[in-house]
Symmetry: C2
Subunit: 348 residues, 2 copies
């Protein structure tokens, strides 16, 4: 039973790709399909896309109609009574809403912009922000979290790492009093998938194409292959769970571009599996962070994380390590991560 803190939260979307659309679908879902969400029907007051138009209605857009129209024509058009042609920044700064939802894509070369600017502007107005975009949390973690604290609002990004599987919420809610002393895990699906395929003798290019076909590769696939996606994820985790203000540029980063089928199969024959592993640990009191390809023994739990699955191992001063595993997530898992953050903010 969800008890709402505000009658109907009003949301402004930036981006409306696969994840944004799936969030809308969850809002529109029948109560019978997802009974736990039946008391939570927020009002969407605007959706902005980069190049596919925008809609705004301060009294709430017709989400079902707008969603159906967008799915059909891949564009908001003037046929929609709420169609607007105004810059995103103006909407962020001037509309009345309770939460900004950033489901735009990661930009490594722009270091998380323009999302960081939009999020900063919302937080300055004491408006909550939920971001599935990894960029802002990775490149401006400290600034945005400090600003949110100062303005007594929230900047949450559960779905930036391991989609809806709780990692940030787990740390915040369930590891109280613990000092996190180390992190490791498999956090990038594309490289995990390709390395598994190479063990079976499938060439890198073919495996990449299959991954792209399945839809979980970053728009710029080199973000995955070169380890940027994983570096960005371990950066956000280190910032929050280890309270160390690093950026992705400080992560020692090794991609999988140079790995050969022979290497993958040779490791296999010796009882190992090649895995792209993220690590953060202290060595002589100095924090080390890295993404690199490691040989993981066959009896290690990491070696059984296959397909698009991921795993995070958390070391603390108070417990032996615990792990969170995510089994073959789909786009709905990412969408649930956003809904989960909204429920954290707007329900008791």
């Amino acid at each position: 039973m969800l008890i709402l803190k505000v009658p109907v939260p009003r949301l402004l979307f930036i981006g409306f790709g696969n994840v944004g659309q799936k969030v809308a679908e969850l809002f529109l879902s029948k109560n019978k399909t997802h009974p736990g969400l039946s008391g939570f029907k927020p009002q969407v007051i605007g959706i902005f896309t980069k190049t596919h138009g925008a809609v705004v209605n301060q009294a709430g857009i017709n989400l079902e109609k707008s969603f159906n129209q967008f799915v059909k024509s891949k564009h908001f058009t003037q046929a929609n009574p709420d169609y607007v042609n105004i810059p995103v920044i103006e909407a962020v700064q001037n509309l009345d809403y309770d939460c900004l939802i950033d489901v735009s894509g990661l930009t490594i070369e722009k270091k998380g912009e323009p999302s960081i600017t939009y999020i900063r502007e919302a937080l300055k107005r004491s408006i909550n922000v939920v971001s599935a975009n990894k960029g802002p949390a990775a490149f401006a973690y400290k600034e945005l979290h400090s600003l949110a604290d100062k303005q007594s609002c929230k900047f949450l990004h559960e779905s930036a790492v391991m989609d809806g599987a709780p990692v940030f919420n787990l740390y915040r809610n369930n590891l109280k009093g613990c000092k996190v002393t180390g992190l490791s895990g498999i956090l990038n699906s594309t490289t995990n998938f390709i390395l598994s395929k190479m063990e079976e003798g499938v060439a890198y290019e073919k495996a990449l194409k299959e991954a792209q076909k399945q839809g979980f590769v970053e728009d710029n696939y080199l973000n995955d292959i070169d380890g940027w996606d994983a570096a960005v994820k371990i950066t956000i985790l280190v910032n929050q769970l280890m309270e160390a203000p690093i950026t992705p540029f400080e992560v020692l980063r090794e991609g999988i571009g140079n790995i050969t089928i022979e290497q993958a199969q040779n490791a296999c024959e010796r009882g190992y599996h090649l895995k792209a592993i993220c690590r953060a640990f202290y060595e002589k009191n100095i924090l080390q962070t890295r993404v690199s390809v490691e040989e993981v023994p066959d009896d290690h739990i990491f070696s059984k994380v296959s397909g698009t699955g991921s795993i995070l191992r958390i070391e603390t001063d108070l417990m032996n390590p615990i792990m969170v595993v995510q089994e073959n997530p789909s786009i709905q898992d990412t969408a649930y991560g956003i809904v989960s953050d909204l429920l954290s903010i707007f329900t008791q």
Copy 2:
């Protein structure tokens, strides 16, 4: 940074075995050792044991002295100025305290008594309860949780399943809006340890003795071997996560007593591992719960949970399955589970 809701929580302990003593050690720990607990130093106003004496001081017992004396002589004696000889129930009903901590042992034959009675009496006075004892949550889940709700206090039991690794807190805090549709896992260390040893050719009796030596076997080892401990754990999980009011007697239960070395090794040769698996799932809309020995394929993540480790797989309507893994916990993990519940209750 922990912000306390009450200045100094006052605690009453029932039981002071390994877990209770480890909780005391955490309270007494140096700030440097566990910096996250430095702001949390509760006052212990009483400790009752079944047959090893009791101490009470409404202004707070001297925890360090009492702990050292108990560790040395295995008994509270009249040498302790706070030594008392009164029934537990009177202490529970009459002393002034903010939380009852139940670290007494599981009683299957007594269906969770006398703990259930003590907990009921505390809750009736609107006093919070944290229990590491699985009995009360398994045999009186609904009654005690309803009573706690009615009395506006908490009945928490994080360490009853998977020690400090968050499962109940994870569900409560991080899976908001999700409907849990199925559970499975390895939740009993003793049987997991023995089955692993049998694969290596070690006889059941010898493996059991080794487990007992390592200190993780229930006082009545048949609680482990016959599947009662696992049945009790899946019962509590089903009550909370699936909101189904079952008791351990309704769980289909198969122990490991009849498993032979030959069976374990034969499975191994075929690429499988024998594991005592707990399951809860719906079959034609009817909830099925069971503990049984299954053959788990070598490439399944469950097969890599070894030693005293455990794993829980949670299926929901909103995400693909997630898992929580606990790696070789020690007694401090259980103690942290209790501290974690106290922090949930007493900090913001």
